[in-house]
């Protein structure tokens, strides 16, 4: 519980998750003056410490795909750049199709991925069986697979960034809650925190599942909505599964981590909003267990070790919200990452930092800009591939 050391900052970032820390890193390297990152929790208490570690480049839109591809390159370098081994293992992402119609729906993604020069494959039932040892007969007619997708360990990424930004004189105040954004003449002047006011002409909202709450507290009407997602880990065992496996029909995803656990979740209908706490529900464990063991029956005799949950920060069109909110100059959005903030963080935050510094970015404002939901504006496209 460290109160902010000074009262005046060049940029104040709300949220010390992967988005907040990475943004601070890019800003500090560019030298933008004193930077403060505030978080009410401990390091890793948000979604960045609760996710499945999946990193994929198979997307429905070129814009997301390119961000993801750039992030893959960054995560490959991460260990050498930040001193922490994130165990980024490029052993593929497999989207399963249970029917030919589902396979046909995955086709356009496959074509797009190939058109970007990535080696996506369409697999038949045999191909799937070779990748998922013990898959139930008839469980999939085929699927799409990209071998350079993969999984990583989220925690060391946070440690590496935390130490890197502190070495660059960024101040990270943990256990400090942001109560609101202060303004004068419609412009941002700083933050009201549980440890007193902080002055900063630029505020970045990287509050993950709570970013909608923060924007609305600042009087901004935003479409972000938090949804709770549950996830579990099994007992660790010797390696038997390489890729991340996703089954679109019920949103099941799972992979085997470096430690040997199966980590995965599925989509359950949950009440939106951040009021539900981050515990597990009675419905999740049986549902997830049934879904997983229907697909890979041999996992039935493995024990579930723990279950937990976290918040996705969803947007109506499936794209994150990046950039300055012109209704409140100085207020920058770095949120709306749904279930994919980790895999998009390195590249997306590079653009966020640019925007904060007043530089142009290559992001299409019609897809990513905060203004796309206001007035008569209509989202230019929709990124529907939200699973896994």
């Amino acid at each position: 519980m460290s109160a902010p050391a000074r009262s005046n900052y060049s940029v104040a970032i709300v949220g010390a998750g992967i988005i907040g820390l990475y943004t601070a890193y890019h800003l500090a390297r560019a030298g933008t003056g004193p930077i403060l990152v505030v978080d009410r929790g401990f390091l890793s208490s948000g979604a960045s410490g609760r996710n499945g570690g999946g990193v994929r480049q198979q997307w429905e839109t070129r814009a997301t795909l390119r961000l993801a591809r750039e992030s893959v390159a960054a995560y490959r370098r991460f260990g050498r750049e930040f001193g922490y081994n994130i165990w980024f293992r490029q052993s593929g992402y497999l989207f399963l199709a249970e029917t030919d119609a589902e396979l046909a729906r995955l086709r356009p993604v496959h074509d797009l991925v190939r058109s970007e020069g990535l080696d996506s494959r369409v697999l038949d039932a045999d191909g799937v069986r070779r990748l998922v040892d013990g898959i139930a007969p008839g469980a999939a007619v085929g699927g799409t697979y990209l071998g350079t997708d993969g999984t990583l360990y989220p925690f060391p990424a946070l440690w590496g960034l935390y130490e890197a930004v502190r070495a660059l004189d960024v101040e990270v105040a943990l256990g400090v809650e942001v109560l609101g954004v202060t303004t004068a003449d419609g412009r941002v002047t700083g933050l009201a925190t549980s440890r007193g006011p902080v002055t900063a002409s630029r505020v970045v909202n990287a509050a993950g599942g709570w970013s909608g709450d923060l924007s609305r507290a600042a009087g901004l009407d935003v479409p972000n909505h938090a949804t709770r997602h549950e996830i579990l880990a099994t007992e660790p065992m010797k390696p038997f599964l390489d890729p991340m496996v996703v089954r679109p029909s019920d949103g099941l995803y799972f992979s085997q981590t470096m430690r040997g656990e199966i980590v995965g979740g599925l989509t359950l209908p949950h009440a939106p909003g951040t009021g539900g706490g981050m515990s597990s529900s009675a419905a999740f464990l049986p549902r997830m267990a049934a879904s997983l063991s229907r697909l890979v029956p041999r996992l039935g005799s493995l024990g579930v070790l723990r279950a937990w949950s976290g918040y996705y920060d969803d947007t109506p069109d499936g794209f994150p919200i990046i950039g300055e909110d012109l209704r409140c100059p100085g207020f920058f959005h770095a949120n709306g990452f749904g279930g994919h903030g980790f895999m998009l963080a390195p590249s997306a935050t590079r653009r966020i930092a640019r925007a904060v510094m007043g530089e142009a970015t290559d992001l299409d404002p019609g897809l990513f800009g905060p203004g796309r939901f206001t007035g008569a504006a209509r989202p230019a496209a929709v990124e529907r591939l939200q699973l896994g």
């Binding site: 470096m258 529900s281 723990r306």
Partner: protein, 554 residues
């Protein structure tokens, strides 16, 4: 659950008699304390430690199902029991070389980053070393695919220890018909109550907010079958357990908790030790001296030894070492001696022994309270959380009751609390006098103890988390690197993420971190108790899908 009396199971190619209600470990203990497996990172020999299905000291593979606890599993006809995570065998394991090669530990956080082209190879090697055992066989899951056991009652009692049984009897006397469940295989019947033995309670979610909704307790039986009990009233009588302790080579076979030592001795097999060093001097130590006095060669205590204990020990001719640090064990695959040191920079003494029995502190099994959302209270005296309970045993959650040592009551009051709660549950009117709680507060004896202990020169491996082979040095480095709080330390080091669900390492970690961070243990963190309470087979959970009404996740 009815076994023919002459059935046999297989262990390492030899057949053994299986007896009703007797576990695999009961059977193996006839030949002494077995070292059944190797530890995950350094492949150190490990042996049963707790005897109550809570540690990782007795994991075996049964019929292709990994990580079955030998001290809980009652084998049936033809069961194949194998050992895990040792190559080529549990007695001689080549991978034990890691223990020698990496005296300062394997640093997977910073290591293995260079050169870049080696990355795939590092991944392959480290993955192969991780994990307790081989993945389950195909057949193992088929065998487990059975219908769940579903029940409902107006009162469910979790835990058939003394207080749980007293509550069950009192409820029956009031005309109720409770379900009484317990993890143990050998639970004596209670007339009028429905007793479910070998049944583990895994998850007690908060009661749905809809009016009239009951609690749904999720669990499993051995061999794995899903369990669902629906009840408007739940009495949690999960009791307490003997804690572990940190010292050099604290994971060596022969180091046991009091639960283990007493349980093994009571199992009817010859006691698996002959001259043990007992660590601790309270009630629990006297129970060990009473039952196992002939097998105890010394009693070591962190503080003064109470007169009652001095009397019992002196009568048995057992030498006493008050105010001492337990520094390290010696031996190879079995404890041969311990080194102790008088506190306040005193001299050190070597005591020969073949076991160490830890009875210095007892901790409550409070996970179900946490899960159900009951308000909890930190007690510095024992260094753990207890539910906040009223004089009638009511927790802050309506319909959830706490009795016995899990609730923080002691001695006779702990047993009597069962009657009291039964009266409250049924609306009866017993005269209520205040319950005698655990020494309500005060300072924790172990805090000062650890303050001294961490400063002595170290010999052997100091294993802060045996399930995951996390070393004390790794925890200390985490603090030095500027990370604070038990939740962050867990994620940084892996401490507390193994199969014991943090039961044995986290209570001590709270004390050690409080010393390192210079703030009280309660500020170092609240240990989140994520479900399930014990690892629960996926097949058992899957069988409950659709049985549970698909309640909205609240």
């Amino acid at each position: 659950m009815v076994e023919p009396s002459r059935s046999r199971f297989w262990f390492e190619g030899r057949s053994h008699d299986a007896e009703p209600g007797r576990t695999v470990l009961d059977r193996l203990l006839r030949h002494g304390l077995p070292s059944l497996q190797r530890s995950p990172r350094y492949h150190r020999p490990r042996a049963p430690f707790c005897g109550i299905g809570q540690c990782t000291g007795c994991l075996v593979r049964v019929n292709g199902r990994p990580n079955v606890r030998a001290c809980r599993y009652v084998p049936g006809e033809g069961d194949r029991v194998e050992t895990e995570n040792a190559w080529p065998s549990r007695r001689f394991d080549l991978l034990a070389a890691f223990d020698v090669m990496f005296p300062n530990g394997i640093d997977t956080l910073h290591g293995f980053r260079r050169p870049a082209f080696m990355t795939p190879l590092y991944h392959r090697v480290i993955r192969r070393l991780a994990g307790y055992g081989q993945p389950p066989s195909r057949e193992s899951a088929t065998e487990l695919r059975g219908p769940p056991r579903v029940g409902s009652a107006d009162v469910l009692i979790v835990g058939a220890g003394r207080s749980g049984r007293v509550a069950a009897e009192a409820l029956v006397a009031e005309g109720r018909h409770p379900i009484l469940l317990d993890r143990r295989a050998d639970v004596a019947p209670v007339a009028g109550a429905d007793v479910w033995a070998s049944t583990t309670a895994s998850f007690l979610p908060p009661r749905p907010s809809t009016p009239g909704a009951a609690f749904d307790l999720i669990g499993y039986t051995e061999p794995a079958r899903g369990v669902l009990v629906r009840a408007p009233q739940v009495i949690v009588a999960t009791g307490s357990y003997d804690a572990s302790l940190l010292f050099g080579s604290n994971d060596r076979p022969g180091v046991l908790t009091g639960d283990g030592a007493l349980g093994f001795a009571r199992s009817g097999s010859p006691a698996p030790f002959h001259h043990a060093v007992v660590f601790g001097a309270g009630d629990r130590a006297r129970v060990v001296l009473d039952e196992l006095g002939d097998h105890v060669s010394a009693l070591v205590a962190p503080g003064e030894i109470p007169p009652e204990t001095v009397r019992v020990a002196s009568a048995a001719g057992i030498p006493l070492y008050p105010r001492s640090l337990l520094c390290t064990t010696e031996g190879r695959s079995r404890v041969r001696a311990v080194e102790i040191r008088a506190r306040g920079n005193g001299s050190s003494t070597r005591l020969e022994c073949d076991a160490v029995v830890l009875v210095h502190r007892r901790l409550p099994n409070g996970q179900l309270f946490f899960q159900a959302g009951a308000r909890m209270n930190w007690r510095a005296g024992t260094g753990s959380y207890y539910p906040v309970v009223g004089d009638d045993g009511a927790t802050s959650v309506p319909g959830l009751w706490a009795i016995g040592s899990a609730s923080g009551t002691v001695g006779a009051a702990s047993v009597g609390s069962g009657e009291r709660v039964a009266a409250a549950v049924t609306g009866g009117s017993l005269p209520l006098s205040p319950l005698e709680r655990v020494r309500s507060d005060g300072s924790n004896e172990l805090e000062g103890y650890y303050r001294e202990l961490v400063r002595i020169p170290r010999r052997g491996r100091w294993i802060a988390c045996p399930c995951e082979d996390v070393l004390l040095e790794e925890i200390e480095q985490t603090t030095r690197a500027g990370y604070r709080g038990v939740e962050v330390v867990k994620r940084y080091s892996g401490l507390g993420t193994g199969l014991c669900q943090g039961r044995y390492c986290l209570p001590d970690a709270l004390l050690l971190l409080s010393i390192a961070e210079g703030r009280p243990p309660s500020e170092v963190g609240y240990i989140t108790q994520r479900p399930p309470v014990h690892p629960t087979p996926i097949a058992a959970l899957a069988a409950l899908d659709g049985v549970l009404t698909p309640a909205e996740g609240t």
